[in-house]
Each structure stands twice: as C-alpha cells, then as structure tokens.
C-alpha cells in the first residue's frame, strides 16, 4: 500500500458521534412476533378495529413471503423472533406540551443538535421527534394549523383524522408490496403524518427526527405525506442510533401522494449507527419509500444523504401517473469500513410527457461496498417520457467496491432515456496538489468529496446542506463544514 493510501486509511477511520445511550425507563414488549404482539401494539395505541384488521392482514401476508436476497449485500440473517417490536419511554400519558416531555429526552435531542424548543436554532422548521417506537414531541403545531396543515404523529392521525389515514395509507405502498413493507404494515408503531390542503404552501420546513435508543428493538415507522391540489411542502428526516454490538433492524415505509399541481420535496439525512470498523453492530436499514405523482403537473423530489447504517437497502421511487408530472432523485451514499449500501431509485413513467432526473453519487472507502440500483420504466401510455440518469462513483483507497446496476425498460417509442455513469478515485495527484496549497490531507479529502457531491447538496434545504457537508466530513474523519 502506498504511503498516501495509508494517509487515506487513517482519515477514514473515525468514530460515530451520536452513539450514546439515553438511560430511560421504557415500556418494551418482549421479543417475538405473532398475532398477539400485533394486537398488543394496536391496543397500546388504542387503535380502531379497521387499523388492527389492516395490520393483521398484512401480518398474514408477510408470513407467506420470504426475505429478499437479490441486493448486492451480505449480512447475517435476521431472526425476526428475537426482536422487540415495541418500545416507548415510560410516561403515564403522552406529553401534552414540551414542558411535559421528559427532560432526558429533550437533552438527548439537544445533544444531537435537534433542539425541540421552537425558538432555537432550527426556528422556522417544525420538528416531530420519534424516539424508539413513539413520537415524543411535535413543534409548531399551532402555526401550522392556522395554515390548515396537519403535521402530527401517525398514532395521533389515526385517532384524529381516521378518514384521511384510511383513504391514503397503503395506497402507494400496499401492505403486501414487499417483505419489509408487509412487516412494517403489521407492526409499525409511529411515524409522521402530513396533510397539506388544496392550494396551500406549507409555511415552514417540516422535519422528523428518528432516534432508536432501546436495545434489541426494531424501529418500524410509517410516514405518510399527502399534498392536495396545487399545494407545496418540503420535508426532511434525520436519524441516529446508539452504538451497540448487535445489529438492529429499521424497516420503515414512506408514502407520498401528490395530487394535481402539487409538489413534495422529501430530503433525508440518514446517519444510523454504521457498525464498528470490523462491521460489528450497526443498523439494517431496509426501507421502502415511494411517491406517487397522482395528478397532472405534480412533482416529487427525493434528496438523500446516506452516511449511516451497516446495511442499506433503499430505493426511493416515483410513480409518474399524472400527465406532465416530474420525478427527481438526488442521492449521496457514503459507505466506509464494512458498510454496504444497495440504493437507488425507480422511476415509473405512466403519464404523457412525464420527466424524471436521477443524480446518484456513491462514495466508497475502507472495505465498503456501494451499489447503485435503479429502474427506469416507461410504459406504453407514457408518450414523450424523458429520463436523464447520472451515476458517479468515487473510490477512496483500494479495498472498497462500487457497482452500478441500471435497469431500463421502455415500451414507448417516443421516450428518451439517457444514462451516464463514471467511476473515479481520489488520486494521489489531487491530494498532493491540495497539500501543496497548504491544506491538510483531511481537509483535502473532505473538499474533494464535497465537490463530488455538489450537485446533490444544492438540492437540500439550506439549513441542512451545511449539516450534510459536515456529516460527510465527519464520516470521513474530515473537517470542512
């Protein structure tokens, strides 16, 4: 190994800074999964019968399915009977206001840089904080209600807006869609619900912050965002978890519905615990995210910065049903040490003149494996559909891998589909050049990586673009911010 490869190796061995555990009394179901567990979850949440039936049906379907293994990842099989499917900080009643939230919880979020007090740093962003299986606080509810926007936990939505939940839940990702989606449908505990009524432009960024704390639990959150005609919303999710030696399962489902002329921008900064240098521990992030541009001229845009998790299996997708609808996917996926990511998107063109853009930046360091997997499908009905795909991979060091699996299916002769892909390495020349200009090797790698990701970072809401850059620096034991 050359000397500069050693420098790079040193740079990419770093510590996870969100790996602390909060000592809290919690109400946790014993490990295992059966109909009784599902009934217990539903009962704890005081759910209506239709919701319980929906869960049970999903569970029965799940029993007939098997875990998918087509992704380019390698991991110990998950023992679904050893996971606890529900864990909540113990409180007598749900908190009515922030003052009633356990100070230890507030402290946890403060430590993570997510102050839940509304006047603080993220002022102008409403936050829903999900701790293990439950939502612990949602800020700015009053101001949002004035605009007619509903932003609450999924549990609350089931109680307060059952008609909306019933109308849309599972309409984009049906309970039997895939193995993990079926599991989620059976046991999901909480998540966020967003409803933007006709013609409303959501007055602030919405954000959910997910934290797994308890040991041996899975997190199964469910997020549903509905944007009615000509409405607009920008939503961001962030996630972290403590450092633990065993793997923890995170199987979320996110559904987006954009009606005619609506626009949903969904951004993710995913920083689940990635495991240690040898690949011990870390989160299995098996997530189904899909948006449907149901109405004409609607638009859904996914932006993700994925730096965490030991295994990532995630394909935020767009079903472009409405004519002239637009789907976008901007992704940065960074894998280090023994992390493995198989991520990408699906763009399903159904309506006429639908357009999609895919920009994917994969960065691989250490002994990590990073795969882009994407499907562009143009149905017969999608006259004049357009897709542009750009997949770039950057390798740091010489023991990692980058892979690209593009699938293109076109049934409409007027469609135009473009795919570009590149793979490059941070060269010794680049590194030496930057050092010769006075930058440390660490700053140089950060700068080069950030340059590589620029096209994606510019799609993030401003407040988070800076955080994402910083996170990337930290994940490479760099600086830059």
């Amino acid at each position: 190994m050359s000397a500069s490869a050693q420098t790079i190796e040193k740079l990419i061995s770093q510590e996870y800074k969100q790996g602390f555990v909060t000592e809290l009394e919690s109400d946790t179901l014993p490990p295992g999964l059966n109909e009784g567990v599902i009934r217990a979850i539903s009962a704890k949440k005081n759910e209506p019968d239709w919701m319980l039936e929906w869960r049970l049906e999903a569970y029965r379907h799940w029993l007939t399915m098997s875990e998918p293994h087509w992704a380019h990842v390698d991991y110990h099989p998950v023992d679904y009977q050893s996971i606890s499917y529900y864990s909540a900080p113990r409180t007598s009643e749900g908190p009515r206001s922030l003052d009633e939230v356990d100070p230890k919880l507030l402290e946890t979020y403060n430590k993570l840089g997510i102050p839940l007090y509304e006047q603080e740093r993220l002022a102008g962003v409403a936050v829903d904080a999900v701790f293990d299986s439950v939502s612990v606080a949602t800020t700015f509810k009053g101001k949002l209600a004035e605009a007619g926007v509903i932003f609450c936990s999924m549990s609350e939505a089931i109680q307060l807006h059952p008609e909306l939940v019933r109308a849309y839940l599972g309409s984009v990702v049906p309970p039997g869609d895939n193995f993990f989606a079926a599991l989620n449908s059976a046991v999901f505990s909480d998540g966020s619900f967003v409803f933007i009524p006709k013609g409303v432009r959501c007055p602030m960024e919405l954000s959910t912050y997910f934290r797994i704390n308890a040991a041996k639990t899975g997190q199964f959150e469910r997020t549903l965002i509905v944007a009615e005609e000509r409405s607009h919303v920008s939503y961001l999710e962030g996630c972290t978890a403590p450092m633990r030696d065993e793997n923890q399962l995170h199987a979320a489902v996110v559904e987006l519905v954009a009606l005619e002329g609506a626009e949903i921008k969904y951004s993710t900064v995913q920083n689940w615990y990635p495991g240690d240098e040898e690949g011990r521990g870390g989160i299995y992030n098996f997530v189904t995210k899909r948006g449907e541009c149901r109405g004409a001229n609607s638009k859904i845009s996914w932006t993700q910065v994925e730096t965490g998790s030991s295994i990532t299996w995630k394909y935020p997708s767009c079903v472009l049903r409405g004519d002239h609808s637009i789907g976008e996917f901007y992704s940065v996926a960074l894998t280090n040490h023994r992390q493995q990511a198989d991520t990408g998107t699906k763009m399903i063109h159904i309506g006429k003149n639908t357009r999609s853009t895919i920009i994917s930046k994969g960065i691989s360091a250490g002994r990590a494996q990073n795969s882009y997997r994407g499907l562009v499908k143009v149905l017969k009905s999608a006259e004049n559909a357009r897709n542009y795909t750009q997949c770039d991979s950057l390798l740091i060091g010489d023991r990692c891998g980058a892979h690209t699996f593009p699938y293109i299916e076109v049934k409409q002769p007027t469609a135009l589909v473009e795919h570009e892909a590149t793979t490059s390495k941070i060269s010794e020349d680049q590194l030496f050049f930057c050092q010769q200009r006075g930058l440390s090797a660490e700053d140089a790698v950060s700068m080069i990586v950030n340059g590589f990701c620029k096209q994606v970072f510019k799609e993030l809401p401003m407040e988070f673009a800076v955080e994402a850059q910083a996170l990337l620096g930290i994940s490479l034991e760099g600086s830059v911010g």
Partner: protein, 252 residues
Amino acid sequence: MLKIENLHVQVEDKPILKGISLHVKEGEVHAIMGPNGSGKSTLAHVLAGREGYVITAGRITYRGRNLMDMAPEERAREGVFLAFQYPVEIPGVSNIYLLKAALNAMRKHRGLNELDAIDFLKMIKEKIRLVEMDEQFLYRAVNEGFSGGEKKRNEILQMAVLAPSLCILDETDSGLDIDALKIVSDGVNSLRAPDRSFILVTHYQRLLDYIKPDQVHVLAHGRIVKSGDASLAHELESKGYGWVDQATVAGA
C-alpha cells in the same frame, strides 16, 4: 533561503538524483535546465515533499530548518510553492473556494485571522488581473475544462494569492503559446521581490528570454554538470544538450 547539499534521491530502487548541491539566496532566480529524464521534475517534487521519493543521502535546509522533516502542507504553509507541470482538475470545487481555503490555511498557520469575504474578493480581483484571466474563472471548478494555458495561468494566480517565499515552477512554460508564455512570465516578474526566490525548472531556453535568471544550472544524469549566469542558457540553446552530455562523460 534554500540550501541543498549532496542530495541523493531514488524512486523504488532506481537512483535519480546523485549528489545535487544548490544554494538559492533571498531574491534570486535560479533556472534548472536539462534534457528529459535528467531529474529536473524529481528535484521539484522532492522540494515540495511528494511521497514516493526516497532521500538516501544529503540535506535540504530551508530558512534554517530541515525541510525533509516537514509534511507537504507544512512546507506549503512555510512558503514553499510548487507550480505544477500538469495541474490537476478537482470537479465541483470552485477555484475561488480552493484559493480561499488555501489562503486561510496559510493565515491560520501564521496566527492571522481568516480574511473576510469582502477583503478576500477585493484582493483576488486585483491578483486575477495579473494573469489576465476573466473573473468567471474564479467560479469554475478547479482546472476543469481549462485549456493548457489557462491551467498554467491558474497556477500563477494561486502563487500570486498565496505569496510564497520560495516559488518552484516545474516546466510552467511547456505547452504554452507565445502569448500565454508572455502573460505567465509577466506574472512571475511582477512577483519578484527581495525576499522571494524562484527556481525555474525548464527544458527550453525561451522562458529565460522573459524571466532573467541570476544563475543557470544544467542537470544531466542526476547531477548538476554546469552552472553559470544567464549566458549559459544561450550557449546550451545553440549547442544542444549533447554538448553537456559530452561534458559529463569527459568529467566522469
């Protein structure tokens, strides 16, 4: 400023430099000339601290300090600048971002505050005129899509902004047309100062028509085989490198 004594360098197991001695004083311009493969670029890279070169004997002292003990970035912060023969591209990183990061790294090293955006911009706009580059170059990714001449001018711009003490130009003249050569030379000449020294590594004499050196050294087979004043370059130009080759053989 710089004192090289009996420097021996090898790459893998192959000796490239076989006993170089060179003394560059404050304010002097030294030209190192020589045929391809004589070790000119190796010398430039060794001074800048590039990995992969093994110093088997000799000493390099820069302003009284042992240069060989210093990491490449430390040398840069202490005022050693190398203008590259083949400047690299850095996609997505704008020129102005790189310049600012580099300048602030130097300022921090010297215990100075970072320049604020307004002062920085003012300074940079002044410097960019020196190399006759359009301001839009500042906002383009470092060297991406630049022509050969633009890349070299960009190196000189970086040199002007960072204001180093020892400037090493590694074949900055190669691949330049006459207009670009003149712009680059004018840039270098305007940076000449009593406390700043230059080492010009070049294959051709023509650069020295524009930048007048105090001393010229001819490098062949890893040794300095001849040193003299500016007239040596002309002699070399008319007689060709074969002349020094013979001299080496005769002297050996």
